[in-house]
């Protein structure tokens, strides 16, 4: 647990549940509080009413989001928040991959009901990237498992780095970047954010940020 302690000062609490050991450190506690507050804020807020002024016309158009659509999006947003809490607190790379995949699926789900062709197009491209990136994500985890025989972060922290482990870490980086739509693929998310219904789409920014933060931490701990 040396690397975990070096990065996070001390462990506040952990749940001993066989191999699966979720743990909280001051760092991850701050992230969890941010996610919980943000999710509650988004769940309680009402969908935006966007006003569009057009040149050449003397009108201001207001677009509304239907009640059913807003309900579905709110549900997906809350699910995304739960998945993010899992990403931040889990002590197991295997669970990390599953939660990151869940974040990706819920992110697509937030946009699935939008009736806008270019938004759906961007969501489709993001979905394709997500499906392709499950290869490096699970492949990297399988390589780490094959080299060390464990997926628990607590055990992996004590194993010194070696070339095969580095390949696994690299694949994990590529996979998580694709699943969470980080830097090179963020363009698809930006295109999706042009959809109406402001409060819920803010979850996408938060999910990218949290997945990225946790990913860097895990890459430091492994190896």
């Amino acid at each position: 647990m040396n690397d975990i302690l070096d990065l996070n000062s001390y462990i506040i609490g952990h749940v001993l549940f066989g191999d699966i050991v979720p743990y909280l450190t001051p760092f991850s506690l701050a992230l969890v509080i941010t996610i919980v507050v943000f999710t509650i804020f988004l769940a309680l807020s009402k969908p935006e009413l966007r006003s569009v002024t057009r040149f050449g016309e003397d009108v201001v158009r207001t677009t509304t989001v239907g009640k059913k659509e807003a309900k579905f999006r709110r549900f997906m947003t809350i699910l995304c928040g739960v998945a993010l809490i899992g990403v931040v607190t889990t002590g197991d790379i295997f669970n990390f991959t599953l939660f990151v995949s869940l974040v990706g699926i819920t992110n697509v789900g937030i946009f699935a009901v939008v009736k806008d062709t270019h938004v759906l197009d961007a969501a489709f491209q993001y979905g394709l990237v997500m499906m392709i990136c499950s290869l490096p994500l699970f492949g990297g985890v399988a390589l780490i498992l094959a080299k060390t025989g464990t997926l628990s972060l607590g055990v992996l922290a004590g194993i010194p780095g070696n070339p095969v482990l580095n390949v696994g870490r690299m694949l994990l980086l590529v996979g998580a970047v694709g699943e969470g739509a980080l830097a090179p693929f963020f363009a698809t998310k930006v295109e999706m954010i042009r959809a109406k219904g402001a409060p819920y789409i803010n979850m996408m920014h938060l999910s990218s940020l949290m997945v990225f933060t946790r990913l860097i931490e895990i890459l430091f701990i492994v190896g």
């Binding site: 697509v108 392709i132 499950s134 699970f138 492949g139 095969v164």
Partner: protein, 230 residues
Amino acid sequence: MALNDTVVPALVPQIFINFYPIAIVVAIVVAVIGFTGLVLEKNDFQKILIVQIPILAMYMIVSAVGTDLAEALILPGMVVSLAELLAVSEILISREITRREKEGEPLRVLNFEYEPINMEVLKTAIPVTCIVSVIYGVILTGFTGGAVAGAGILIYLFAGRTKGFSNEFWEEMAGISGVAWVFWLLGFLIYFIAPQYWLVALFMSGGGIIIKVALKLGLLGILGREEYNR
């Protein structure tokens, strides 16, 4: 990419360890084929189908490890890829409907004519496959056996002619599935409360789960058929 000898137990034969790099290389070749197809393909629907090839490579890399932890990894991997596939195809359908509504193009339902092929094997192979897989599933018992037997029932319901069984029959089967599940739970309870009766518990839970899983898959077939007929 040789494995560290300290990780692999001594009882594993050397030939299995030598297979691992071969499996990884084959998976990389499969992934390269899939990616090439994705780059060359322009049709969105075909892209969804071709994406399954890299996912196949993912299964190969994970299953090459061959431990119980890898088995635990591959099942959620399949579920995740299935969920992503469903989400992406829903988005594709939604996009096409929105686009056609905007452009005023009517939605066409494919309605092609066909002539049923009269072949002996099409009528006889399906019940035989069903019976063989159900018997093999009963021999296997447990969750795996239930899945095998259920797959047999699923084939029969999807492709075969279900003359003998009405819908009420299958609804009663759903009730039996629930009772079998209770047996499974009771078996597990006996494990913890009275470990000396482990044999009874084993038979209760093993028999319960096979009936439960098999009938669940059969129920899936019923739902699919009713959806199709509607």
